[in-house]
Every structure is written in structure tokens, then in C-alpha cells.
Symmetry: C2
Subunit: 436 residues, 2 copies
């Protein structure tokens, strides 16, 4: 069979990893795909570096449109990132009848509906295993492995930067700012870490997973997004005392009223496997109605782990490329014309549990006031810690874990608590999930 | 599109789960597959029960050959088990041009080469996700998700009966016989638990995974198989003290000299995620050269978890059924004519670490004798515990953890140690893996 010809847009970390792994494992990959997969063209602004990395084995250009318009290219790998030029190139590749493999979570989370629709109309495939959780085959598992299930919820540690920071904060008892600098020094966080630490990257990935899991359009604009920048070492320690770890979770959950799609720091029981995922590793917990709980764990980023996912997609497309477009694995696990219109719930409607910490003047009646406010908002308390004031201090910490309640109830209660004269400052609120 | 017609051989635990899940999630499964999947015939010796379970919705027969010979059946699901009549029926289905989905690890581990060859010659698919680790999509992950990788090793907790027993032995400090009875009472172990507790079931599954991972024929007869029947509560406790858990692991590993394929109780560091997989849950750790370590965790058995895997295979086959046979996902991830002939190493050639426990007369010079014997066999010691004799006793326990060494060195050393006059009884030997 004649080889499949691939054009690579961008030969940075993931692109060079893709080139190297494809080369190193060429024999095995060819056997598995049934035919040879060849990167014949590479586009990169830095053509010198691209030539060096590819060792003269393919044509190097600095204009990506030469690849997406090239008649001999079968598959385009988009590794430029972002939703500017990357979007134009992907749409052009599709219009030209080329299959697309991408790692671009930002692009798919914001423009996925348009891209998948164009691809379906043209009869080409868009694959994106590398966009979520690096080398862990989570998209394939959701889309194919768990296809018998009605997915009930999923929860993922899907951003290695923030998970590394949280692991360090816990292990060393340090504050966020200190650990962020350390993470940047070690290369776990970017110079501009905003997308990671504000939870945006995790939200992109959770949005994509929610579309596959629930057969809904990608709706990133409706996701609730809260990062880890406000977390304090003291909350991590209290959580530990209460038997919980704090992780940044991307959660997508089916409820009778609609779908929850949210990213935020979350207390989870320390005994859960996922609570013990440390450093830059990722993990996604998926609960299906037939299979129950399943967990997928591995490296969420990095040159070769992400390349592993890109190449898995190349092989998939290669295997299916001769099949009739009607019978190919649909992009979002459903025939696009049957996509669900279940609404994404606003955060105020979400039901979950909460960790609340407040500083109070150490006076009688304070606790009674707080518990009455909670009761009035129909919030019941699961556990409580009261820390005596330090020597010479007059303020005490009160920590409460609530049972399940609606976010709007907690918001209302917190407003009233903060208005009490005995409360100092704001109430710290961190959500809590049992994940059972 | 016209529906795909499926015949079910056996409607026991997994068969009824398959029927029920296919019915309950019919709408979503149809959308994902792109066409309707219908169980039109069921064969079971107990036709009364089969009619009850299927509610008159399909034809019930007591002769499975009616299904494998029926002109209208596209896919046969074999859930009879064993390698007697099940083999004949599977071979007949293939000869008649029908695709096969099976959960039968015993059949595939012993006759897989013949079955896959027949299927490839006929141009039909044989799928077996349900044969290994229940609902966890491990076969799909090995065959497709990790296709870019040279798999270096895999290690799995793939038998729920033995994992349940080991969890109970550890949690309650009880002996094997006591816990086995409890497991039988609770339904985690069969009345005849031999296949499970002797490690045979795990070895069937490890054999199948080794074929997919390394592109070799299934060679169950070459697997080293050791179950948990000789494990004592005291070893579980010593392992705990040294920072290890004992699990029954199925291991397949690529080495320069050949492939290791072995099942046996194994000490693993307590901090590994896989060491914390408890009860009847399964997990498989796979290490690929590009992606690094990945872990897959979930329910390894049960009606609906296993049905989830069976149906995932039905959907896969349905999606690919119209494609040209040449381009379908090859059964064992490689084109069969390119299958590797790397040998399976005999156990004596395997290199690993060991936990050794011996009872010694409490006299000076005993330790020197033992350590000299080990040194003579080029075995070095990583850790040691010496338990003083209990009050009124004259015998002490010595526990050693060795560094990596060849099995034949340990066998030779143990023979010499057991010959020492100061040693009481046999040396307990349990293998140890760092899994890093």
C-alpha cells in the first residue's frame, strides 16, 4: 500500500517528539497501521531548527498554508496552538479534504462545533487525543472503550502545572507564590502561567471531554472556571487534618436538570486513588452506568507522551482512511445530527459540598450565629474543626465541611456570615467532592 | 442502514448484563455505532430462563450451532467459557464468515493463535476486550491508544478474587484459608476457586496482554504461574513493615534476552498507586517508551462491567464492518504475518528482586552463614529485618529484601541456606518489583 503522507504544522516540543517517535518506532507503527506513515513536510517559522530536527528527511517550509493546500498531503497535524492562525489553517485543511490531528485544546474548546461540522460535511476526520491529558488515551476510552455506557460524571486532574504546585504546597507547607516561582524555575510552569493557574487550560480540556461524554456541543463559554491562585497553605493543612487532599479538578456531571461543567480547587478524600496523583501527572476518573468507576492515569504533557497521542490518532486515521466516510468513528461519538441539547447549568444551580473557613472573634454565641445562618439556608454540617486562637491572639479559625447543597444557598449564607460583627474578613470557600 | 444482527451464546451473568445494557442504552449506542445493534437469537441450555430474561424479544434456542450456522447472524458473542465446545463454536462462526466477540480468556490464551489465524484468513474480526480486566478498556488501550509505543512492560492486578483475598488478609491480619471461605460466602470466590487462587486466570489474561503488547503469539504454556495459596499473614505483615504491599501480579516484560511472562505474588512499594487497588477492583500498569507509565483501573468482573466491554467490541465491529477487510484493525495490533518470534524466557532466567524469610536457631554466626551464601550467589541485600524470638522461643525470624538478581541464583542460594543446620524449615521466597 502506498504510504500515508503527513504534513506537520509546528515542530516545537510536541512536533519534534512526534517526528522522533514516528522514526524510532517506525517498524512497529507501520505493522500496526498496515501501511507506512510518513511526515513529508514540516512548516515552522524557524526553518533552520526545523531542518536540523528533521535531518533533511522532509521538506521544510516557513509557510503553513503550503502544507494545507498541498495536493499530496493526506493528514495535517496542527501543533501551532491558540485560536488565531491555527483555526484558519485547520479550516483550510478540512476544506481541502485533508484529515486533521490536533493537540489544540483552546481551539477545540472555543471553535470545536464549527470545526467538527465542517469536517463532517466534507467527510474528513478530526482527531484530538493529544488535546486532553497528554499520552493517556482518554478520548479513545470515552469515545470507544466506554461506548456502552451512559456516562454519569467525570472528574480529572488535567493540568500538570497546577497539580505540581498543589503537590509542592502540600509536601512542603509553602504558599502559592513561593511554589509558583519554583515551578517556573523547574519548567513546570510557563513564564506567563495564567492559562494554567487560572484553570483555563483545565477548562478547555473539561469542555472537550464533556462533549464526548454527553454528546453535547462544546460550550466553553458556559464553563465555570476558578484556578488555584487564591489557595492558602493553611487550607491545604486543614483539609489534610480532615482527611482530604486539595486538587484542581475539571468536572463534568449529568444531573436531572442539566450538565455541570466546572473547574475549581476541590477537596477529595485522601483515600481515593485520584487524590494520590502527584506532581505533573494527570488522571481522569470516569463513572459510567454499566462499568462503574474507571480511572486513567499517566503523563499529561511532555514531548514524547503527547507525541504518543498524536501518533495514535495518525494510526487510527490511517486504518480508517479507506473506509466509507459514513461508517467512520464519528468525531464526537455521536452522529452530529443527533447531538444532545441538554443545557449547561449555571454555577448557582450546582449541588455539591463545601469546605468553609472563617476567622472569628473568640466570643460566646459566635458558633450559634453561624450555624443558625447555615440552617436557615438549609445547609447542614458534616464536620467541624475549631482552632483556638494562637497565644496573644483573639481570633479563632472555624472550619466547616457541609453536606450537599446548592451553590446559591452557600453564597447567600456566606454573605450573611460575612456581615456578622464577630467575623473577621471573608469566608474561604472551597468545594468538596466525595467522588464515590 | 439495516441493523447488525447479533447471536448470543450463553445468557448467564455476562450475557444477561449484555442484553440489559444494550437495551437500556439502546438510543445512545445506536447513535454512536451509526446503526442499530440487535440481539436476535440467544442460545442457552436453560431456555426457560433465557426466555424470561429476554422477554420474548429474541429467538431462544438450546442449540448454539443454530446461531453460528444461521445465515442472518452477523456477529456471534461467545460467553459459554472454557475451551471445549466454545472452541468449536467460535471456529464454526469464523468459518461461516461471522465476526466473534468473546470474554473467554482461557480459550484465547490456549487456542488464540489458531483462532486469530482462521479469522484473518476468512477476513472476519475477533474481539476480546471482555476477556481481560472486565470493563477497563485495556485491550483497546494497548492495541490502539498506545500504538505509538514500544511497550517495555506491563503489570496487572487482573483477578478480583485473589485481590479481594489479599486485601482482607492485610486489613484483618487473617490467614488465607479463613479469608477464602469468607470470599466464597460473599460471592467473590467460586465453589471451586482453583483457577483464581492458583493464578491460572491471571495467567490467561497476562498471556493475552503479552501478545497484544509485544506482537508475539499467545504462549500460555510458557507462562510461569504461581498463585496465592501459600501466602501467610505473617509475610503480609512483614512486607507492610518494610513499606510494601503484596499483590498477585501478572507481569509481561521485554528484556534483551527475551520476554518475561509470569504470574506470582509480588511485593510492591506501598506508595505506588497500583499498590492501593483494593478488593475486587483491577488495574493494569503499562510502560511505553514514549508515553512512560500509564495506569488503567476499574471493575474487573461483574455482569454490567463485563457487558460494557462486550458492547464496546460490538460497536467497534459494527463501525468497521463495511470497511474492506484489508484495512480493519488487525486482531493483535500487528499484521499477523509480521508477528515477532522473540522467545518467552524460562523463569530461571528472569531477573527480579526477592523477599526472603527464614526461621533460624538464635545462635551467633547464623547471619554470617546466610549472608556469605547470598554473596557467593552474587545476591546483594537491600534491607533486612530480624525479629527476636518470642518469649520462651529459641527461633528468630530473619527477613531480607535482595537487590535484582536472576531467579536461578536465588534458587541455588535457598537450597544452600535450607541445608544449614541452624535453619528451621524452608525459606519463604516472594518476588518484589519496584514498578518505577
Amino acid at each position: 500500500m502506498k504510504p500515508i503522507k503527513v504534513g506537520l504544522l509546528g515542530i516545537g516540543t510536541v512536533g519534534s517528539g512526534t517526528f522522533n517517535v514516528l522514526k524510532r518506532n517506525q517498524e512497529e507503527i507501520t505493522r500496526r497501521a498496515g501501511r507506512s506513515i510518513q511526515i513529508t513536510m514540516v512548516a515552522d517559522l524557524n526553518t533552520e531548527r526545523a531542518k536540523e530536527l528533521t535531518n533533511g528527511e522532509c521538506e521544510v517550509v516557513n509557510d503553513a498554508s503550503l502544507i494545507v493546500n498541498h495536493p499530496d498531503i493526506d493528514i495535517v497535524i496542527e501543533l501551532i496552538g491558540g485560536y488565531g492562525i491555527a483555526k484558519d489553517l485547520v479550516m483550510k485543511a478540512i476544506a481541502n479534504g485533508k484529515h486533521v490531528v490536533t493537540a489544540n485544546k483552546a481551539l477545540l474548546a472555543t471553535h470545536g462545533n464549527e470545526i467538527f461540522k465542517a469536517a463532517q460535511e466534507k467527510g474528513v476526520m478530526v482527531a484530538f487525543e493529544a488535546a486532553v491529558a497528554g499520552g493517556i488515551p482518554i478520548i479513545k476510552s470515552l469515545r470507544e472503550g466506554l461506548t456502552a455506557n451512559r456516562i454519569q460524571w467525570l472528574a480529572g486532574i488535567i493540568n500538570g502545572t497546577t497539580n505540581f504546585i498543589l503537590s509542592e504546597m502540600r509536601d512542603k507547607g509553602l504558599d502559592f507564590d513561593v511554589v509558583l516561582k519554583e515551578a517556573q524555575r523547574l519548567g513546570y510552569a510557563e513564564a506567563d502561567p495564567t492559562f494554567d493557574i487560572e484553570g483555563v487550560d483545565a477548562a478547555h480540556k473539561a469542555t472537550i471531554m464533556s462533549a464526548i461524554a454527553f454528546g453535547i456541543p462544546v460550550q466553553f463559554d458556559k464553563a465555570y472556571v476558578e484556578g488555584i491562585t487564591k489557595l492558602q497553605a493553611t487550607d491545604i493543612q486543614y483539609a489534610e487534618q480532615l482527611g482530604y487532599r486539595i486538587k484542581l479538578l475539571g468536572i463534568a456531571k449529568r444531573t436531572p436538570k442539566g450538565i455541570e461543567l466546572r473547574v475549581h480547587p476541590t477537596l477529595i478524600p485522601a483515600k481515593r486513588l485520584i487524590a494520590n496523583v502527584e506532581g505533573a501527572m494527570n488522571a481522569v476518573l470516569v463513572h459510567g452506568d454499566a462499568v462503574g468507576a474507571t480511572l486513567y492515569y499517566g503523563k499529561g504533557a511532555g514531548s514524547e507522551p503527547t507525541a504518543s497521542a498524536v501518533i495514535a490518532d495518525l494510526v487510527d486515521i490511517t486504518r480508517l482512511a479507506t473506509a466509507d466516510p459514513e461508517h467512520r468513528v464519528p468525531h464526537l461519538a455521536f452522529q452530529p445530527d443527533a447531538m444532545n441539547d441538554t443545557p449547561i447549568l449555571p454555577m448557582s444551580e450546582v449541588t455539591t459540598s463545601y469546605y468553609l473557613r472563617m476567622q472569628v472573634a473568640d466570643r460566646p454565641g459566635v458558633l450559634a450565629d453561624i450555624t443558625r445562618i447555615l440552617a436557615d439556608s438549609t445547609i447542614s454540617i458534616d464536620a467541624m474543626l475549631q482552632k483556638e486562637p494562637a497565644e496573644g491572639e483573639t481570633k479563632a479559625d472555624i472550619i466547616m465541611l457541609t453536606h450537599q447543597t446548592q451553590e446559591k444557598n452557600v453564597e447567600a449564607a456566606i454573605a450573611k456570615i460575612e456581615a456578622l460583627p464577630t467575623i473577621v474578613g471573608n469566608v474561604t470557600k472551597i468545594r468538596l467532592e466525595q467522588l464515590s
